[in-house]
Symmetry: C2
Subunit: 255 residues, 2 copies
């Protein structure tokens, strides 16, 4: 199983939308996928319609009171499983911070699970911050996917997440940048084009060719608990995330 | 001086855009305003074109190594001053967490400054999280302004920030909700209208009448280091934030 963090400390750039829809598209293509909601907000959990999962989350495994496998729940989509978030998860930041291994706690917790996990890929949807949950995700992951909104503040923050990835390599030498995914691209504006050009110039080999356009349907889908391939199967959002899943697999298989 | 936190743990909802442009509009109307960037990302700092301020930030005052007044810098706008952010600020979360008064540290630091501060209003631009910096801001503030993007996930998170405000009242009984500000409203979509209706139904007395529309100029302005009233003085963004500043003052004076 390959473990990928979906992370960017800038808020609202499309981390959850990307983690949920990329997972759904990979499951549609026959891959077995585990989506882990590491954000106490629980947006990925509600985006798949999993409201009440009996408080399951990574919280108890992180504090050593449950096994990872106890927290896995099926979704109604074939081959797509989830470890949901619960509000306890916010408490995990404080509890993990007090441990000696506060940086590598998640890696240890997942360490015995990963080798026998029945999944091809697992994605960690990270909260918008440089706190414990996000750094734990980077310390545990094989790769990080960086969704990047086509806006000025998001571009400004890119060097920061790249710097953090460099620093985490101190504890996780395996960590690589799996790619930068341009999101909420609005072809009618110069700003989107400028940000895209800038990123393509400085991160030519890392940025995905697939661009996710701004589409209101992507914003509507989570209110119905549906990934975009169910909510609007033939729209621009579904087409883009299917193309992203194809490009993702090409990179993985070429890796 | 009145101290207001601009906060919402949901990312990308318009906290910085609101803090910067409301501050600029109030200064334009003759108020003396201090904008404090409490987000290590430093978006409010760059939105006013203050790139290099010699590392000034609230970091040293928070750890007791400098006075608040040392960190105040002028902007090129009359009556608008700033305490910028620097990357050290990320370290403040960890250092403050270790103090006994980790929840009220900012309030103590500002306590001796506020009574003699030469400002009418101070706004704290908060990072997207439920961490130390945000809870410190709420523990110190007289009121909290909650920008709310007209999207499903943002609506889902509203009960969370309201709950956190309730909890903080334990250490800051003075804290009130100054208002909910609807942002990035797109009149062409049902989603925006649904979210607005929902918020008006449950928070009728708290939500501002002024709605901030989605306008690409608001996204472009920070790349020039300009508030919207300078970048596009007669556009929909400037008009909306001027109307918001008027409604804000009416509430303040009526209070
Ligand atoms: N391509 C898109 N087009 C239109 N809306 C989008 C798109 N991608 C995401 N959204 C919407 O934009 C908002 C922000 O996206 P999302 O919540 O996925 O970002 P995030 O980075 O996970 O946010 P946070 O930092 O709070 O975790 C959401 O309301 C989402 O529905
Ligand atoms: N009304 C608007 N219309 C169009 N774009 C907007 C509007 N308000 C904000 N933006 C843009 O949307 C993005 C998110 O806004 P902003 O950064 O102010 O949110 P935030 O809540 O401060 O984010 P964070 O959670 O990362 O601190 C920015 O790129 C900003 O320029
Ligand atoms: Mg998210
Ligand atoms: Mg901000």
């Amino acid at each position: 199983m390959k473990l990928l963090a979906v992370a960017n400390q800038k808020g609202g750039v499309g981390k959850t939308t990307t983690a949920v829809n990329l997972s759904a598209c990979l499951a549609e293509r026959g891959k077995r996928v585990l989506l882990i909601d590491l954000d106490p907000q629980g947006n990925a959990t509600s985006a798949l319609g999993l409201e009440d999962t009996g408080g399951r989350s990574l919280y108890e495994p992180l504090i050593g009171q449950a096994a990872v496998t106890d927290e896995i729940v099926p979704t109604r989509f074939e081959r797509l499983f989830m470890i949901p978030a619960s509000l306890d998860l916010a408490g995990a930041e404080i509890e993990v911070a007090r441990l000696d291994d506060h940086l590598t706690r998640l890696r240890e917790v997942l360490g015995s699970f990963i080798p026998k996990a029945p999944f091809d890929y697992a994605f960690l949807d990270c909260p918008p911050s440089l706190g414990i949950l996000m750094t734990n995700a980077l310390a545990a992951a094989d790769k990080v996917l960086i969704p990047l909104q086509c806006e000025y503040f998001a571009l400004e923050g890119l060097s920061k997440i790249v710097q953090v990835v460099e620093q985490i390599r101190g504890v996780n030498s395996n960590l690589g940048i799996g790619g930068i995914i341009m999101t909420m691209y609005d072809a009618r504006t110069n700003l989107s084009q400028q940000v895209l050009n800038e990123v393509r110039q400085h991160f030519a080999h890392v940025v995905f060719q697939t661009i996710i356009p701004r589409s209101i349907r992507l914003g509507e889908a989570p209110s119905f608990g549906q990934p975009i391939i169910e909510y609007e199967p033939n729209g621009v959002g579904a087409t883009a995330y299917r193309a992203l899943s194809e490009e993702f697999l090409q990179r993985e298989q070429g890796a």
